[in-house]
C-alpha cells in the first residue's frame, strides 16, 4: 500500500510540471508580428565580464546587432556538457542566428545544426561550412605578426613575453608568428612563453608575468588568455617601463591604462554583421568569413603616449608589409 502511495505521489510530481510546461508553450506562441525581428544569441563558456575574449565577443554581437536591427540574448558560464543543450534551447525559442565564439563549440554546433536546419550558426575560429553553418576566421598568423612586430620594436631589454590560455592551435600559431615577427624587426630579441591553462585564473597571469620579469627581465608582453592577461597587466603596472599589448578589443579606447601601449584589434562585429546580413537575405551558409588586415577586420588599435613617433612610423611600415604578405618570407 505504501509502495502504491509512493508511486502515485512521485508520478504526480513528474506529470504536473509537464502539464505546466505544455500550458506555457501555448501562451507564448502569439508574439510574432508582421515585420520579422531577427534574434541572435551567443553562448559562451567563460563569463562575458571577463575583460577579454568573452567581453569582446559579446560587444561585437551587440554592435553588429544594433547595426542590423537584431535582438540579442546571451548565456555565459556554460560547461562543455551543456553547449549543445543551450543552443537547442535558443533554437527552440525561435532564434535565427546562434553565435558560438570559439573552436571548442564545433562539435556541439555541428550536432545542433543538423537537428535545426532552419536556424543559422556562426562559428568563430571555426573551419566548418555547411548549409546552415558559417565560420568566421580571423587570421591568427597576422595577429601574431602584428603583436610581435610592435613588441620587437618597443622592447629595451630585448626580452618579450607571451601568455597563452589553453594550447589552442590558433594560440600556437599566434605565438609562432609573434616570435617570427619580433625577430624580424629585432634579431636580438628572445621570446618567453607560458600557458596558464585557463582563461579565467587572473592570479596565474600575475604569477607568470612576475616570474617572466624576474627571471628574464621581460618588458613587453602579449597575451591570448582573456582574463589571465588582466592579471599580467596588474603586475606590469607596478613598473614604469613595462608594457602590454592587448587583444582582441581596443583596450585604450575603452579605458585609460599606463601599461597598454596598443592593441591588436579583431573586429568581430563587422564579420558577424556580414553573417547577419546573410541571414536576412537568406544566403547564409557554405562560407567562411575571413578577417585580416586587408578587409579591415584586423586593425591596429589606439596607441598610448609611450610609443614614440619613430617607433610608430616603423611599426606602420611593418603593418603595410604584413598586409601585403611580404613581411616574413
Amino acid at each position: 500500500m505504501t509502495k502504491k502511495l509512493m508511486a502515485l505521489l512521485l508520478t504526480t510530481i513528474m506529470v504536473i510540471p509537464g502539464l505546466a510546461g505544455c500550458g506555457a508553450t501555448g501562451t507564448k506562441a502569439t508574439t510574432n508580428s508582421s515585420a520579422k525581428t531577427y534574434k541572435v544569441a551567443m553562448i559562451c563558456d567563460s563569463t562575458i565580464s571577463d575583460g577579454g575574449w568573452g567581453a569582446a565577443c559579446y560587444n561585437a554581437m551587440v554592435a553588429a546587432a544594433k547595426d542590423n536591427g537584431f535582438e540579442t540574448q546571451y548565456t555565459d558560464g556554460i560547461s562543455s556538457a551543456d553547449f549543445a543543450s543551450s543552443m537547442r534551447s535558443y533554437a527552440d525559442l525561435g532564434f535565427d542566428l546562434i553565435f558560438a565564439p570559439g573552436n571548442q563549440y564545433t562539435d556541439a554546433v555541428k550536432e545542433v545544426a543538423a537537428d535545426y536546419p532552419d536556424v543559422d550558426f556562426a562559428l568563430l575560429n571555426g573551419t566548418v561550412e555547411t548549409k546552415n553553418i558559417a565560420s568566421i576566421l580571423p587570421d591568427a598568423k597576422q595577429i601574431g605578426y602584428m603583436a610581435g612586430a610592435l613588441a620587437g620594436l618597443m622592447t629595451k631589454t630585448n626580452s618579450i613575453g607571451f601568455i597563452g590560455g589553453m594550447e589552442l592551435d590558433t594560440t600556437k600559431a599566434k605565438l609562432a608568428c609573434y616570435e617570427a615577427a619580433a625577430k624580424a624587426v629585432n634579431p636580438a630579441v628572445t621570446v618567453n612563453s607560458a600557458y596558464a591553462g585557463s582563461f579565467s585564473d587572473t592570479a596565474k597571469g600575475k604569477e607568470i608575468a612576475a616570474s617572466m620579469i624576474s627571471i628574464n627581465d621581460v618588458d613587453v608582453m602579449f597575451g591570448d588568455a582573456s582574463a589571465v592577461d588582466s592579471g599580467a597587466r596588474e603586475v606590469l603596472a607596478d613598473y614604469t617601463d613595462k608594457y602590454d599589448i592587448g587583444q582582441p578589443s581596443d583596450l585604450l579606447a575603452l579605458q585609460k591604462s599606463d601599461v597598454v601601449i596598443c592593441s591588436v584589434v579583431t573586429d568581430n562585429a563587422t564579420m558577424l554583421g556580414l553573417c547577419m546580413k546573410d541571414v536576412m537575405a537568406g544566403t547564409f551558409g557554405n562560407k567562411t568569413v575571413y578577417g585580416d588586415l586587408s578587409n579591415g577586420a584586423l586593425s591596429v588599435g589606439t596607441f598610448s603616449s609611450a610609443v614614440s613617433d619613430d617607433v610608430k612610423a616603423q611599426y606602420m611600415a611593418a603593418i603595410e608589409k604584413i598586409k601585403a604578405g611580404t613581411f616574413i618570407q
Partner: protein, 313 residues
Amino acid sequence: MEAIMNVNFIQELLLSMVRMATPILIVAIAELYSERAGLVNIGLDGMMAFGALAGFLTCYITNNPYLGILAGAICGISVNMVYAFCTITLGAEQIVYGMAINIFAPALASFIYKIYFGINSTLISNTLMSAAPIPFLSKIPVLGNVLFNHTPIVYLAYLLVPFTYVFFNKTKAGLNFKAVGEFPKAAESLGINVIRTKYLASVICGGLAGIGGAYLTTSYIGTYSDGVVSGRGFIALSAVIFGRWMPGGVLMAALLFGFTDALQLRMQVMNSGTPYQLLAMIPYLCTLFVLAFFGIKKAGPKANGRPFFKEER
C-alpha cells in the same frame, strides 16, 4: 639551469611562495579550529568565494581594503552559520553540508556580482592593499624582502600560527576546545559546553575562511572573477591533514604547497616544453605520497565528523 642558481630567481620564487601560501595558510588554520572541535568542514572553497566577493565589493565601494577584509570575515561567518546550525543542532552529515556550501556560496557570489556590476568589457578592479614593509627587518638582503615586505594580512596569517599553537597547547580554553573534538561526552561531563564550543569553532572557521577569500581580491589581485578561488579550499583541507592537525605542521604544508605551485609556474616559463598539467599535479601527489608513507597514526581528533547529541548516553 644556471637561472635557478641566480639569487634573484630564488628570492622571487620565495616571495611568490609566501604570497601563494598565505590564503592556504589562513584557510587551513580556519579548518584546524573547526576540526579540533570535531567539525569537518569541506565548504572552504565556497566560503572563500563568498568572502572574496564580499571583500571585493566592499573594497570597491569604500575604497578601503581593510573594510573588505572585515566584510569577508563577516560574510564567511554568516555562510558558515548555516553549516553550523545544520550540523551541530540538527546533527546532519557534515560532508554533505560542506559540499552544499560549495555549491551555494559561489553561486550566490556570482549572482550578486552580476546583479551589481552588470556587463563590462573589462574586469572591474579595485584598490589593492599596499605592502607594509617592516622598517628594519625588510632591509636584510634576500630574506628581508621575502619575509618582511608584505601586506599586513600576510603578517597576520603567519602570526596566527604561534597564536594557535599557544592557544591549543598552553591555555585552558584551548585544551577544553581540543577535548570537545576528542571526547565530547567526557568534555560535557566535565562541564564544558560542547555545543557552544562547536559554534565558536564555526564562527572562527567562517571568519578566517572569509578573510582568506577576501585576501585574494583585496590584497593578491584586484579583480573578482568566478574562478578566483580555483580549488584553494581543498588544498587548505589537505594542508590540515598533511600538517597532522598541528599549527606548525599546517604552516609547513601551506608553504610546501605554495612552493610547488610557484615552482611549477616558473618551470613552465623556463621550459615551455613540459606539459604543465603534470607539474600542477605535484601538490596533490605530494600529499598522497606523504599520507600513504607515514600513515595517520594521529588520525585527527577522534570525534571528528560525528554529531554530538546530548541525549545519547
